[in-house]
């Protein structure tokens, strides 16, 4: 192979890279956006939540050690298990995986950074502040106590007065948003910032799992976002989505929650499996057996996981036919999981010299055992009659801890020991690591294996105490002892961390002799040059690669634009397309995150005015931040390798910005599909409250027709501007006029829709139908609001001379969201005005 940059590089390029990518020092560290810095912060905070929620677990286990124990009170216990579950799922598991994506994905792809560094920083800071405040509610008796699943009606104001439940809803709603921001980043990162030559079929399995992980977040999280919106609206304004007496249905929450909640489990497990698929080949010194089968299996899990949610609802009394369908679907997941398990075993067997028994290997083997057992109990609970007995008992508690601790925490600890040398000057101690493993492994099994029996012997979940005479004492005492052994293992890990983890470079390069790109020599700027990749394990197949990369013989060995940049490649074949100029450190994402968090949290305690002010400030900082983006083509075309010249600016469907907008539209689309599902679901449950029989008929067709015509007109205007941007952009007034006109169309259409429903006398609090109609308006309105912010921003860019026919990314984003809004709202008008006429 001929090297992309065969000639010796001039002096000073590395120093230039170091200067450009330097990490801000002192208190300015919070303005850092580089993936290795904020990724570490992300992971560290996620791990802190793991520790804190783990301490809650130990307190709960102490309470349950013997029957009739009254060590901690009922109310505190109920808060504790709610916070434990919520924290582990929302504040630890998903963020820890996103953190690993942020930290490791660019390294594995030898990208200089993720495509939207400031978005990552924003998502992380919002999570840090929001998460810490949420968790702290346990200390002042304000924590939610409805369980991590927050089933209404228990969580409605009538049965849960006080702000506790609101902390869950707003805290989580906002962590969901930060998860989605991270997901957008990861999807675009995995598809567009791979090194030249790394086609999809050469992509490391971890990158595959992150891609599927992020796609699943895109489709799963909107369901729970909608559900949390509905529950908060019912709590705050009395819109009866879940109140049976007014045509709502508590089961709607369960459907939406588990439509998210089940994929959530795989969202957590898939990347962990990806980590294992990276560690096993290295430790066995042989390529992964069945790479293609695994990729198919991963995609299969991603798809299947959306068709299983009802298996969390087997005991709600749904018809036998759906039980049978969901039972069968649940079992099919055993197949792709089995494929992965046997692929790892086959890889272990394939290694000529046998598996190296490092701490990471031990954790992987422990994972194999625990996860297999958890998978088998998963098949058991998928059997409906068996589930009738064990659902909501300690058997299920045992099952999902096997799946989650086995399927996620053990691979995470393997990850700590395996990848620590990338971020630390010293590796973690292999000697302590063995102790950590055995304590955790023995402690875990001692704690959770007996719970299978505790459950079958009749102990339900979420009870803070139990009578001593029911035969559960011994089993519970063993579980409690085991949990403390597990805790001791984690404590020992902390000691190892304190003794050996020192952030910085300078450790052994590639200590395990791995084959993937993250083990190339690297620094703050990632690798000196971005390698041309020809195989799945480039470091094994081309031993000279580290030296070549280090000497700058591959792509982009310098910083030709004088700023942060990385190569964008085509999504499938990874052909170089352009160089993306990326923003560096800055205050706006940090401050925007702080004020977003403040806005949500102040809303929770009903300080609406201050919350609104914070919200506005957050938007302002977002705009300040966005103002610095869209650099335009001023840097021209640059040379990234011999004979390879790439543009430094791109708009339209090839640009990363366009891709991110499309991903965002998928998210909004999923949210809207969840809304349509909810509308039809409630109609099926309570046709008696639906218009025209049970509620005022929708307004005459003049209303929706005019609203629809306005939408189409607006879309037409935006389309025309897009086509003729060259001519339109010549006039300052014209751009402002047409964009404002398009906004006027939207706002007028929204106003017509609201006014139309108001004239019929329908109110959202009347019944489930009214609530659904006005929720449709809210979903329409929130998009309009976004465009009302983006429109003037676009005009301002034009006035400032930062927008023209070439430099048009800002306009394109406005246009894409505009067309999406029109499409969604037309569908909405059809549903809300058409459906009652159809059934009437």
């Amino acid at each position: 192979m001929e090297l992309p940059n065969p000639d010796p590089r001039p002096e000073g390029e590395v120093r230039e890279l170091e200067r450009i990518w330097a990490t801000p020092r002192g208190w300015r560290l919070v303005t850092a956006v580089n993936n290795t810095i904020i990724g570490l912060l992300y992971l560290g905070v996620a791990f802190l939540f793991f520790l804190m929620a783990g301490v809650l677990a130990l307190i709960m286990r102490t309470q349950l050690a013997v029957g009739d124990n009254r060590l901690i009170g009922q109310d505190l216990y109920n808060q504790m298990f709610t916070v434990h579950g919520t924290t582990m799922m929302f504040l630890f598991a998903v963020p820890a995986m996103e953190a690993l994506g942020v930290m490791l994905l660019p390294q594995m792809l030898a990208a200089r950074d993720l495509p939207f560094p400031r978005l990552s920083a924003f998502a992380i800071w919002a999570y840090v502040v929001g998460g810490l405040v949420f968790f702290s509610t346990i200390f002042y008796d304000l924590a939610p106590k409805g369980g991590w699943f927050m089933y209404p009606p228990l969580t409605l104001t009538e049965y849960s007065p006080g702000d506790n439940a609101d902390f869950w809803l707003l805290g989580i709603g906002f962590i969901e948003i930060s998860a989605i921001a991270g997901a957008i980043e990861i999807v675009v990162g995995a598809l567009r910032t791979r090194p030249p030559g790394m086609s999809l079929s050469k992509m490391p399995i971890f990158a595959w799992t992150m891609l599927i992980f992020a796609s699943m977040i895109m489709f799963a999280f909107p369901a729970v976002i909608l559900a949390t919106m509905m529950l908060e609206m019912e709590r705050a304004f009395g819109w009866p989505f879940f109140t049976a007496a007014l045509g709502g249905d508590p089961l709607l929450w369960q459907h939406l929650f588990w439509f998210f909640g089940h994929p959530e489990v795989y969202i957590i497990f898939l990347p962990a499996a990806g980590l294992v698929s990276m560690i096993v080949p290295t430790m066995a010194r042989t390529p992964l057996v069945g790479y293609r089968l695994i990729v198919v299996a991963l995609i299969g899990i991603g798809f299947f996981s959306f068709g299983l949610w009802v298996h969390h609802m087997f005991t709600t009394g749904i018809p036998a036919l759906s039980l049978a369908f969901f039972s069968a679907a649940s079992m099919t997941v055993a197949i792709p999981s089995g494929i992965q398990v046997f692929a790892w075993i086959a890889t272990i067997a394939a290694g000529r010299e046998g598996l190296r028994m490092t701490t990471a290997s031990l954790f992987v083997l422990g994972f194999l055992f625990i996860f297999t057992l958890g998978g088998l109990t998963g098949v058991m609970v998928a059997m409906v009659p068996f589930d009738y007995q064990v659902h909501d008992t300690y058997f299920v508690v045992a099952h999902f801890h096997y799946v989650l601790i086995g399927g996620f925490v053990f691979p995470l600890f393997a990850t700590f020991y395996y990848w620590a040398p990338l971020f630390s000057r010293r590796p973690l101690s292999e000697r302590l690591g063995r102790w950590v493993f055995w304590l955790m492994f023995i402690g875990f099994n001692l704690a959770f294996l007996p719970m299978h029996l505790t459950g079958l012997r009749g102990m339900p979940r979420r009870v803070w105490t139990y009578p001593g005479e029911l035969g559960w004492d011994l089993l519970n005492a063993v579980s409690t002892a085991g949990s403390f052994v597990l805790g001791a293992g984690v404590l020992l890990f902390l000691i190892d961390l304190a003794a050996n983890f020192r952030i910085g470079k300078g450790g052994v390069e590639n200590p395990w002799g791995a084959g993937t790109l993250e083990w190339l020599p690297n620094d703050v700027y990632s690798t000196r040059s971005i390698p041309y990749v020809t195989s799945r394990e480039p470091l094994w197949d081309r031993p000279s690669l580290p030296q070549e990369v280090q000497e700058g013989h591959h792509y982009l060995p310098n910083a030709p634009t004088g700023g942060r940049e990385t190569i964008v490649t085509s999504p499938i074949h990874a052909r170089p397309q352009y160089v993306i100029q990326m923003p560096g450190p800055g205050w706006p994402p940090f401050l925007a995150a702080i004020f977003t968090a403040a806005c949500f949290l102040l809303l929770t305690v009903k300080l609406v005015t201050i919350a609104t002010i914070c919200g506005v400030i957050a938007v302002v900082f977002c705009l300040v931040w966005a103002w610095g983006l869209d650099p335009g083509p001023s840097k021209g075309v640059i040379q990234v390798a011999k004979g390879v010249r790439l543009p430094t600016y791109m708009s339209g469907p090839t640009s990363h910005s366009w891709w991110a907008m499309v991903v965002l539209m998928f998210v909004a689309g999923s949210l809207y599909i969840a809304y349509i599902f909810s509308y039809l679901f409630l109609w099926v449950v309570s046709p008696e409250v639906w218009a025209p029989a049970g509620s005022p008929s929708p307004p005459s067709s003049r209303w929706p027709l005019s609203a629809g015509a306005l939408l189409l007109a607006g879309s037409g205007i935006v389309w025309l501007v897009s086509q003729k941007l060259e001519k339109v952009a010549a006039s300052r007034v014209l751009v402002a006029a047409v964009l404002l006109l398009s906004l006027a169309c939207l706002v007028a259409s929204l106003a017509l829709e609201v006014e139309g429903h108001l004239t019929t006398g329908l109110r959202p609090g009347d019944n489930a139908y009214g609530a659904m109609v006005y929720l449709g308006v809210v979903l329409f309105g929130q998009l309009v609001l976004a465009l009302v912010v983006m429109g003037p921003f676009t005009i301002a860019r034009h006035v400032a001379g930062k927008l023209d026919a070439v430099r048009r990314v800002t306009f394109d984003n406005y246009m894409l969201l505009y067309h999406y809004t029109v499409a969604q709202s037309l569908l909405g008008l059809g549903l809300i005005h058409g459906f009652p006429r159809l059934i009437g």
């Binding site: 009606p153 049976a244 089968l293 005991t315 036998a320 039972s327 009659p385 909501d392 008992t393």
Partner: protein
């Protein structure tokens, strides 16, 4: 207590004696017996698969060169990850469908007796409806005739609860706005314990009840007795207790048939003295328990919705308790 018969030797696995009034391993109902067989089938096949996976992994780690070469290809992945699960799962699924499908052996209630159970925070409202449509109100305890499949209709008055008597059958949720139906068929006389299995806030841990299966003739006699009015107190203490009961506000929530107590918010107390437990299986039922509950209910069962009554003197409390205790 006896162990699950078909697999008694495996009782070792379940540590102590495998019994318990709330254990799914010790079924005394038709549905629970069927599920118990399925449970053991699932447990055994899972253990077998787990052992097999461990052995293969051990082979991959420590096996001879030849062994390892044999399991190092995609053949193992396809065999173990595709063929094996499809085979095993198809068999299990067919059996599961057989157990719950339309041709399921699950008994159908014969309609001679229906029990309506309403979940309340944190107790159970129980109404027996016999063939003639007569409704007999009771609470926190269910009695069943042995051998007869009885239809149980479940709903909730407030939040979601779940009705679960492990020795008789699997659980079924109680959801406001919906009615779910379950068939219970006790196969032998005796006591089982049930508990709410869906977290319902506050005192969820103290929402239990007993189910007492009795021979058919005894049950018929009991139901007649239960349908009747409350016993009229005879002793001096008991009579004084009744006066206190009727004059202290208790009747705003509680009913005692045959008196002017017709409250419907709390449990019916007509025959409360004959029940196995108090406060939804939180306390054993005796005179002192009544006193303790009335005085100290918030400690016995935190957050329970009966207001605390500390207005009574010790003597009055004793009178009230003996009145309630004789309501048999």
């Amino acid at each position: 207590m006896r162990c699950a018969r078909p697999f008694a030797p495996l009782a070792l696995l379940t540590l102590q004696d495998c019994a318990g009034v709330q254990s799914a391993f010790d079924p005394s109902g038709a549905e629970a017996e069927r599920i118990n067989v399925l449970s053991w089938l699932l447990i055994l096949s899972s253990v077998a698969v787990l052992v097999a996976v461990c052995l293969i992994t051990a082979g991959a780690l420590f096996g001879s060169e030849r062994w390892r070469a044999r399991i190092s290809g995609e053949r193992l992945v396809i065999g173990g990850g595709l063929v094996l699960p499809i085979l095993v799962l198809s068999i299990l699924l067919s059996y599961g469908f057989y157990l719950m499908g339309p041709g399921s052996p699950a008994g159908r209630a014969d309609g001679r007796l229906r029990v309506e159970v309403v979940g309340e925070r944190w107790w159970w409202r129980v109404t027996y409806v016999d063939e003639s449509g007569r409704r007999v109100e009771s609470a926190n305890e269910i009695r069943l005739p042995v051998g007869r499949p009885v239809g149980v209709e479940l709903t909730s008055a407030d939040v979601i609860h779940s009705f679960w008597v492990p020795r008789l059958a699997g659980k079924l949720d109680m959801i406001p706005g919906r009615t779910n139906s379950l068939t219970l068929q006790a196969t032998k006389a005796g006591i089982s314990r049930g508990q709410c299995a869906e977290y319902c806030g506050g005192a969820h841990a103290f929402m239990s009840f007993y189910v007492i299966a009795m021979p058919e003739d005894q049950f018929a006699a009991w139901l007649e007795q239960e349908a009747g009015d409350a016993q009229i107190p005879t002793g001096a203490d008991e009579t004084a207790g009744q006066t206190l009961f009727l004059s202290s506000g208790c009747i705003a929530c509680h009913s005692v048939r045959g008196t002017e107590a017709r409250g419907t918010i709390g449990p019916d107390l007509t025959h409360v003295g004959s029940r196995h437990s108090l406060a939804a299986a939180t306390l054993e039922n005796d005179v002192s328990a009544f006193a303790r509950w009335i005085r100290d209910g918030e400690h016995v069962k935190p957050e329970n919705l009966m207001p605390p009554y500390d207005i009574f003197t010790e003597a009055e409390l004793a009178q009230l308790s003996s009145y309630l205790d004789q309501l048999r």
